[in-house]
């Protein structure tokens, strides 16, 4: 695995089971871009309220493209706005007329019910950002996508809808979305996982389904990996302590035992994920903090970079 494999894609879709740290990894990938003088745009479907805790960024993330840090832009895509923009662009001559009827309840309802329309417009908008459709010119779009259960239907939608839509602008749009999603030179999925039983099971299924749709999985990032620094001999000494009486000492020994035990579990699941991903797995050490900061994200970016740099 090399950094160039990551950088030569225009769109990186980051997904995984809920709660594994998709946003942290997406932002770390953004930092990795900016550290190399590139301009990334972090894209999400979530709206991050200004002032709510989001890795210490104070601006929040909303529909306006704005700078989060260095050269990193961030934007939240809202399906309704994306749809309005799409119509504005594609039916521009008639827009004044459509703008009025767009407000009608019939049409609103129709857009909710039309097969995959909103999802397709949304993913199209994400792609568009990386292709001179944004405020700036971006080198890469990092899409912090919804978790597994919701991501697969979105990625799979074009094929599904294509089967039933035989004409109209939607069909053209779907073919266009299919075109870039399934082009391994343009789009790749990064799967985020954690070294836990249920997460690993879901990750294996996720990798399989993404690939069966025909989209490339670039690599899997295993987050929260425990990496004990105790040697085998030291482990023996710690185990030999049993459960000390004195509370303070007990806590030290217990936390050391926890670190050792979890490191073993982490190694086991890293092996498993390596084997199902053809060795394309990166690990990120567990950070002992309740809430991560921008400095932590930069550290994660460095960890990723180290593993994407082949030994000389």
């Amino acid at each position: 695995m090399e950094l160039s494999e990551l950088f030569d894609k225009k769109l990186i879709v980051v997904t995984g089971k809920g709660g594994v740290g998709k946003s942290a990894v997406s932002l770390a990938l953004s930092y990795l871009n900016s550290a190399h003088g590139r301009r990334p745009v972090y894209t999400t479907l979530e709206h991050v309220e200004k002032g709510s805790y989001f890795f210490g960024y104070e601006t929040g993330v909303n529909e306006k493209e704005q700078l989060l840090d260095d050269n990193i832009s961030a934007v939240s895509i809202q399906p309704n706005t994306a749809l309005r923009d799409y119509i504005h662009e594609h039916f521009v001559a008639l827009y004044p007329v459509y703008a009025t009827i767009l407000k009608s309840k019939t049409l609103q309802t129709f857009f909710e019910a039309a097969p995959g329309l909103k999802e397709l417009i949304t993913i199209g908008k994400v792609w568009h950002l990386g292709n001179r459709g944004g405020k700036r010119e971006y080198d890469q779009v990092i899409f912090d996508a919804p978790s597994t259960g919701h991501a697969i239907p979105i990625l799979n939608l074009p094929s599904k809808v294509l089967g039933m839509v035989r004409g109209g602008a939607l069909r053209e749009h779907i073919e266009w979305v299919e075109g870039f999603l399934k082009d391994p030179g343009k789009t790749a999925v990064v799967v985020v996982a954690a070294p836990e039983d249920m997460v690993v099971r879901e990750t294996i299924e996720l990798i399989e389904s993404v690939e069966s749709i025909g989209i490339k999985v670039l690599f899997t990032v295993v987050n929260n990996v425990y990496d004990s620094e105790f040697s085998k001999g030291e482990e023996e000494i710690i185990r030999g302590m049993g459960i000390p009486e004195e509370p303070g000492i007990r806590a030290v020994i217990e936390t050391a035992m926890d670190q050792i035990g979890r490191s073993e579990i982490s190694r086991k699941y890293m092996r498993k994920i390596r084997s199902v991903s053809g060795g394309r797995a990166l690990s990120i050490r567990r950070i002992f903090k309740n809430n991560l900061t921008q400095a932590d994200l930069k550290n994660i970016a460095e960890e990723i970079e180290e593993q994407l740099t082949p030994d000389s």
Binding site: K105, L107, T109, L117, M164, G167, A169
Partner: protein, 362 residues
């Protein structure tokens, strides 16, 4: 008896709700197992597309519905004469079933079931998943075979994503807008005349004639069953709002998860649902109650190198423990919280789940 014992004793429906990755599946499993433990005929209903609840209770994800044998329950430490069955939601099947149930004739239901639009997309209409989850709950409740139903919901950051989805879908299916299509159609003798409408011309431009025709047929046929479906959705809301039902909020102590949980609780309350308990899952603080103050270096084992490593490791954990303890303390001032420690081993089988029950039940 702690508050949560009373919930399992008295409620008929327990809905676990919370953001992704907080461990709703684990908590639902603990509640469902406790139902069986307290002698109830219990159903664990998982509406999560990844079928994790079934897996965590040791049932192959291939099966749609299965029972956990009394022997397995007993081996894990659970007593009593209760039972536990697990059911996995299947959106399309439930939808088909629902249409058959409320249609007045089999011709009526077949027309809908055979429609191309319905066949390829009905289970992807916004809110269909959640709608069918609630339908499954209502059916199971009305079957009357269970004393307690525990529902494991898909991750939701906002209440609207889950609870309000049926309302949204109802609005689509029952839209006055679509009704006006049909009315226009009836007045203008045939489908082609509908295209005189400006909006329809526009829609036709976007999706093409074929899909529009399929959609039009679907919604037109659907009218016949929409009253029945609406009525069932209303009954579901009644059940969720009744004294028989209780919501359990599951969270961890990280932002934005915790903030979302508290917002969710506000939303539930303002909508008139009961959500008393917050379960804080996987806390490190709860696991190391003895981690206070600075340990005496002299009493640690090994040479200086090992001592340093031990202290460094301890300080890492202590960072998290102190942060969590602070948040928990504040949280318990305002809410009824039940903290569950993160286990040092993995939660995999019934025995691991049994070892966690003492944090929720007496």
């Amino acid at each position: 008896m702690s508050g949560l014992d009373a919930i399992v004793e008295e409620k008929k429906v327990v809905v676990c709700i919370g953001s992704g990755g907080v461990g709703k599946t684990t908590i639902s499993s603990i509640f469902a197992l406790e139902g069986a433990n307290k002698g109830k005929k219990t159903l664990a209903l998982t509406v999560d597309p990844s079928k994790r609840l079934a897996q965590s209770l040791g049932i192959s994800s291939a099966s749609e519905s299965a029972k956990i044998s009394k022997r397995r329950l007993k081996n894990a430490g659970y007593g009593g004469s209760g039972e536990l069955a697990v059911r996995v939601l299947e959106v399309k099947k439930t939808f088909d079933h629902l249409i058959r149930k409320v249609a007045r004739s089999s011709e009526e239901s077949e027309r809908i079931l055979q429609n191309d639009y319905y066949k390829s997309i009905a289970d992807s209409i916004a809110g269909a998943h959640e709608y069918m989850a609630m339908e499954t709950l209502l059916s199971a409740y009305e079957e009357g075979d269970y004393d307690l139903i525990v529902v494991d919901t898909p991750p939701s950051e906002h209440l609207s994503a889950f609870l309000r989805a049926p309302l949204r879908m109802n609005a689509i299916l029952d839209s006055a807008g679509f009704k006006s299509f049909f009315l226009m159609d009836k007045l203008s003798f045939g489908f082609t005349r509908v295209f005189t409408s400006m909006s329809l011309k526009f829609i036709q431009k976007i999706v093409g004639v074929d899909v529009l025709h399929d959609m039009w047929r679907f919604f037109s046929d659907f009218e016949a069953v929409s009253e029945g479906i609406k009525e069932r959705a209303e009954r579901t809301y009644e059940l969720l709002g009744s004294d028989d039902t209780c919501f359990i909020l599951v969270t961890n102590l990280k932002e934005p998860t915790l903030g979302n949980t508290l917002d969710l609780r506000e939303e539930l309350h303002s909508d008139g649902y009961s959500a008393e308990a917050i379960v804080v899952n996987r806390t490190v603080a709860e696991r190391y109650p003895s981690a206070v103050g600075n340990p005496n270096m002299a009493k640690l084992p090994g040479d200086k190198k090992l001592k340093d490593k031990l202290i460094r490791n301890y300080k890492s954990y202590k960072n998290v423990i102190d942060a969590e303890a602070g948040i928990l303390k504040e949280l318990t001032l305002d809410y009824k919280c039940h903290a569950i420690p993160e286990l040092s081993t993995e939660v995999k089988g019934l025995k691991d789940l049994y070892s966690l029950r003492k944090y929720l039940f007496g």
